[in-house]
Amino acid sequence: MSADLLRTPLYDLHVELGAKMVPFAGYEMPVNYPGGIIAEHRQCRESAALFDVSHMGQLRLIGADAAAALETLVPVDVVDLAVGKQRYALFTNSAGGILDDLMVARRANDLFVVVNATRKEADTKHLITHIGHRCQVVSMPDRALLALQGQKAVMALSRLAAGVAGLTFMTGDTFTLVGAECFVTRSGYTGEDGFEISVPADAALALARALLAQPEVKPAGLGARDTLRLEAGLCLYGHDIDERTTPVEAGLAWAIQKVRRPGGARAGHYPGADTIAAKLAGGVQFKRVGLVGLERIPVREGATLIDAHGHKIGLVTSGTLAPTVNRPIAMGYLGTNHAILNHEVYAEVRGKRQPMRVTALPFVPPGYHRG
């Protein structure tokens, strides 16, 4: 593997556990361990799985003006976010297109931001360029990020710090885990209950070993992370959302709180606000949808969606054979006329038409702990 690739603090552990390592976003990352993607996927749905997501970008925004400053880059209510709460957000460009999606948590002394690995350099530059004069933008390369996901994650993690059981979905707090001060949020990317743990890099290995020593927990790689998030109907940046899609086409308008919408107290004043306001009011030509294959053939990213007459009506942006659902599932964009529940469309796979049905997202019921 190329010598230019970065390694997370858990690299040696992945190798020791027999992971298949692949290049991803400039890092050597485990795609799966010897049990394989399907077993890891089931482990997460039925018990708990530990993912190394240290390749993702962690940042702090520090200063009294940080929340108001961040609101100039995202269509999201950050100012009213209470200490200990976390929220999903999107960086938009001047056309309303999505530059990245991110998580923002308000802590007592800063905003804690997690961005996609593929976008962390661009996002950091974006933040410094546009709001660096209003708050401190601090990258955190000295932190690893672990995701412990699954309905039994809370049982396992509360043995290390009982207090984590008191968190609810999209809240976070600081806990001491194996002697290290960690910031723990009850959130994730699998559709299950679970936690994301920001841990000092030099304590990450001890924490990972302590978690893997719990009877509920097994390691899982990026392969299972992808099938889990797809079943959960969650977008992958660069695939299901990108600069060509606004939050409205992407079905992410729920992330734009009322206070940031036209008529709200802090409406607009983010990149592309006019375009997004117009789409919220007037509708869009394409919409993100869920699709279930009516045959066994997996329908993957890039497959063209056509109607019964063979006219192109959309594109698949993510797809696989879903381990839990045990059917082909996909997400993609369809012309609004066709983006109707239970509507039947066709995906072109190797020159053949595969029937698919427009389906509500997520494909599996979420297991979030809302308290």
């Binding site: 795609v31 993607i37 053939i297 997996p298 696989t320 381990p323 190797r350």
Partner: protein
């Protein structure tokens, strides 16, 4: 030698040249990961050497299956169609893909023998 290999990671066993068995190698199934779907060739159809005759799909990816030698497909593995994970658990046995009536024996002889295939794997 009754089993030979292709650079595309298929194997062919020619104990019965009228029904030589073709499958994917241990390396191929490892590289693919959990196999969830196979598309098998049409029985009774003759394919040229190197022609795409099927597809094997894992959770992560799809890969073409090529014809190692020219010939008519005489049988496909319906058990594999029903349970594609056989390609992972027993790729050189119950996870076979199809059988072919080999007419050009010289094409078989041009394939990689086991040491040749092992040498290829070492370069990957």
């Amino acid at each position: 030698m009754t089993t030979m290999f292709t650079p595309d990671h298929e194997w062919i066993n020619i104990e019965d040249h009228e029904a030589a068995v073709v499958g994917i190698t241990l390396h191929a199934q490892e590289a693919l990961g959990d196999v969830v779907f196979v598309e098998l060739p049409t029985v009774g159809k003759t394919y040229k050497k190197g022609e795409v005759v099927g597809v094997v799909e894992s959770v992560k990816a799809a890969a073409d299956i090529y014809m190692p030698v020219e010939g008519e497909v005489v049988e496909v593995n319906e058990a594999l169609r029903a349970d594609p994970s056989l390609a992972n658990s027993d790729p050189m046995g119950n996870g076979w893909f199809y059988k072919v009536h080999v007419t050009h024996m010289e094409q078989f002889d041009q394939l990689l023998d086991p040491p040749g295939y092992d040498a290829l794997l070492k370069t990957l």
